[in-house]
């Protein structure tokens, strides 16, 4: 079973929920897909056993034999290439726009003028902490997009014989789509604030569009604050879990500690409810 934990707004508690849920599973694999700023390891404190570089393929131009025909730039839907013909004779490449699709190299009529070369954009760290198999993606500083790194985490490192917990980046962009795609159940973590609600609505639109099973988790829940409840009722979405706000909890979080044992039974119940809905 694959459970994705995501949120529209950052800082609502994805990692809190994802790591505590992983801890409560019998046979879990926790994958931190928030490769731009992974933080699951701060709480799970895994022993990293392997670090592997993650490469993407990018085109390399040989201007000595390039005929500046511009076919590569025309083929690039991401506008990552610019070709200037006579008299400038220049072919320019913008790596942060490249999606490594290979179209440019495919259409190049001159053998060797454009070749694909590996480019390291991040690292994948694999380890273990107690009974939890741990995997995290980490994008190198300055890189623009973690989407391909996340795709690799799911394709090459995910162990589907386990209960897989996918800790997603926030928002509704490509990285989130890549993370939650194919999940059996998606937890949308939110907080009972106007910002939390506003971004929750975007997440709901996304998961509905992707036709995924999902429920809402209200983190920092306060008795009497019905902001999220009213929305959920109106949209007929289940609030599958509430984690009450507590100062004690926030204090331990700030020290990189989570009350895993204390809330174990709550998260076991959540897991059971998810299993019933998948």
């Amino acid at each position: 079973m694959k459970i994705a934990v995501t949120s529209g707004k950052g800082g609502t508690g994805k990692t809190t929920i994802a790591t505590m849920l992983a801890y409560a599973c019998d046979n879990p694999q926790y994958i931190d897909c928030d490769a731009e700023e992974p933080n699951g390891h701060l709480f799970l404190k895994p022993k990293i056993e392997r670090v592997e570089p993650f490469n993407v393929l990018i085109p390399k131009i040989n201007e000595d034999i390039c005929i500046f025909c511009g076919k590569c730039a025309d083929a690039c839907v991401y506008k990552a290439l610019v070709v200037m013909g006579e008299p400038l004779k220049k072919t320019m490449f913008f790596d942060e726009l490249c999606h490594s699709c290979g179209a440019c190299v495919y259409v190049c009529p001159v053998g060797g003028a454009l070749v694909e070369v590996p480019d390291e954009i991040g690292k994948i760290k694999i380890g273990k902490t107690q009974h939890i198999d741990f995997v995290m993606g980490e994008l190198n500083i300055g890189e623009a997009s973690a989407t391909q790194l996340i795709a690799s985490l799911k394709k090459n490192y995910m162990n589907e014989s386990k209960t897989v917990i996918l800790d997603s980046p926030p928002g509704t962009s490509c990285t989130v789509v890549e993370t939650i795609e194919g999940a059996d159940y998606v937890l949308l973590v939110t907080e009972p604030t106007p910002f939390g609600l506003s971004d929750l609505k975007l997440s709901v639109e996304l998961v509905r569009n992707m036709d995924l099973k999902f429920g809402i988790v209200v983190n920092k829940y306060e008795e009497g604050n019905t902001l999220i409840d009213e929305y959920a009722k109106e949209e007929e979405i289940e609030i599958i879990f509430r984690l009450p706000f507590s100062k004690e909890f926030a204090q331990s979080y700030s020290k990189g500690e989570l009350p895993f044992e204390k809330f174990m039974s709550n998260f076991r119940d959540l897991l059971k409810r998810i299993e019933e809905r998948v």
Partner: protein, 109 residues
């Protein structure tokens, strides 16, 4: 000389658009024949690569000089690789900025 100005409207009295890549309009003025051609930015609503596209468009149009408020890093890299002269302006209309350029009172970017 062909001058490209980023504009908020489609005529000589339109104000300069401060953004190069995401400008509303491109006003192209040919000083040899005193003719203005205005095109709506075809890349305005693209998700990415707008600076690159706009710069490429500028090069392909055979522009000699560009007048805009600010240039993004990718656009700048392409424009700098060409022989196009870049000028910076703070405000004013298309006509005023053409005049300033011709009088030599605009700063190069």
């Amino acid at each position: 000389m062909k001058i490209l100005l980023t504009a908020l409207g489609d005529n000589l009295s339109a104000l300069i658009d401060e953004r190069f890549g995401r400008a509303e309009y491109f006003a192209i003025y040919d000083t040899d024949i005193n003719k203005l051609e205005v095109v709506k930015n075809p890349f305005l609503n693209d998700q990415g690569g707008v600076g690159v596209s706009t710069a490429k468009f500028t090069v392909e149009k055979g522009i000699d000089a560009v007048i805009s408020g600010s240039y993004g890093p990718n656009a700048l890299e392409v424009l700098r690789a060409s022989s196009i002269k870049l000028y910076k302006t703070e405000n004013g209309t298309i006509q005023e900025n053409i005049d300033k350029l011709l009088n030599g009172t605009l700063d190069e970017f």
